[in-house]
Each structure stands twice: as structure tokens, then as C-alpha cells.
Symmetry: C2
Subunit: 85 residues, 2 copies
């Protein structure tokens, strides 16, 4: 039961991130994204994955790994597009 | 040890949300925020809180509750500012 709740929670919070990522990729507009905050966020998400491994909880590991992937792509976009204008 | 990792993770991912919220409140620009996605996100975060209660894990409960609060404020801003222009 916990696994169903956790997996559903992970899928919903993961799905909610995707449109924002697609928008950034499509519009190549990254002026509003703070590189520092992305760094803080990716560090926090990495600790969540570590926490998930310590507790052996797959919903936490998978959803935070997905969030790290999304934010690494965002960080790459910021690096690539930041000075295009 | 798990609690230290989880609490640090929660603090970092929570801190990373605040500048975006302050920016929206300050600039009153919510055109880029999807109400549907906020709904999906808040639903997902609520399930995480439920999951945290089932597992008795305070870092999960507290950090996702904070995220719900941030996103409810965002939802309020979207409702309030969406049609100002």
C-alpha cells in the first residue's frame, strides 16, 4: 500500500516537472533560471536519493533520480543559452 | 544518520523553491504557470505527505508540506494575477 501511494506520488510530481522543461527547451529562454538555485536543488535531490537508498525506498530513489535528470537538462540549457542574447 | 541526510535534503530542496516564489510575488507575472500542472503537483505532494505519515518519516512529511504551502501560494497568485493584463 505504501508503495502504491509512493509510486503514484512520484509519478505525479515527476509529470508536473515536464511541461516546464519542454517550455525551456522550446523557447530557449533561461534568463529567469538561477544557476545557484539549480545547484542547491540538485544537491538536495541527490541527498534524497541517498536517503532513499539508506531506507531502501524505491519510490523516493526513482522520483528524485528523475528530478535530478530534469534539473541537469535545465542546468545544461542554462549553460548553453544564458548568453545567447 | 538517515534523519540528518533526509533533513538536509528537505532543507535544500525547500530553500531552492523560495526564490522562484518571491519572484512571482514581486513581479506578479504568472502567465507561464500552468494551473493544471500546479494541481497535479499539489496532488502528488499531498500523496508524498500521506506516504511519509504511513512510513513515519518526518523529513518527507515536513519538506513536502512546505512544498504544498509554496505551491498553494503560487496557485493563489495564479488565481489573483492571471487576468490582470
Amino acid at each position: 500500500m505504501e508503495d502504491i501511494i509512493g509510486t503514484t506520488a512520484g509519478v505525479l510530481t515527476s509529470v508536473a516537472m515536464v511541461p516546464q522543461l519542454l517550455k525551456v527547451i522550446k523557447e530557449k529562454n533561461v534568463e529567469d533560471i538561477s544557476g545557484l538555485m539549480l545547484g542547491v536543488l540538485i544537491t538536495g535531490l541527490s541527498l534524497w536519493v541517498w536517503y532513499g537508498f539508506m531506507k531502501g525506498e524505491w519510490p523516493i530513489i526513482l522520483s528524485n533520480s528523475f528530478a535530478i535528470l530534469v534539473n541537469l537538462i535545465l542546468a545544461f540549457c542554462v549553460f548553453k543559452f544564458k548568453h545567447k542574447n
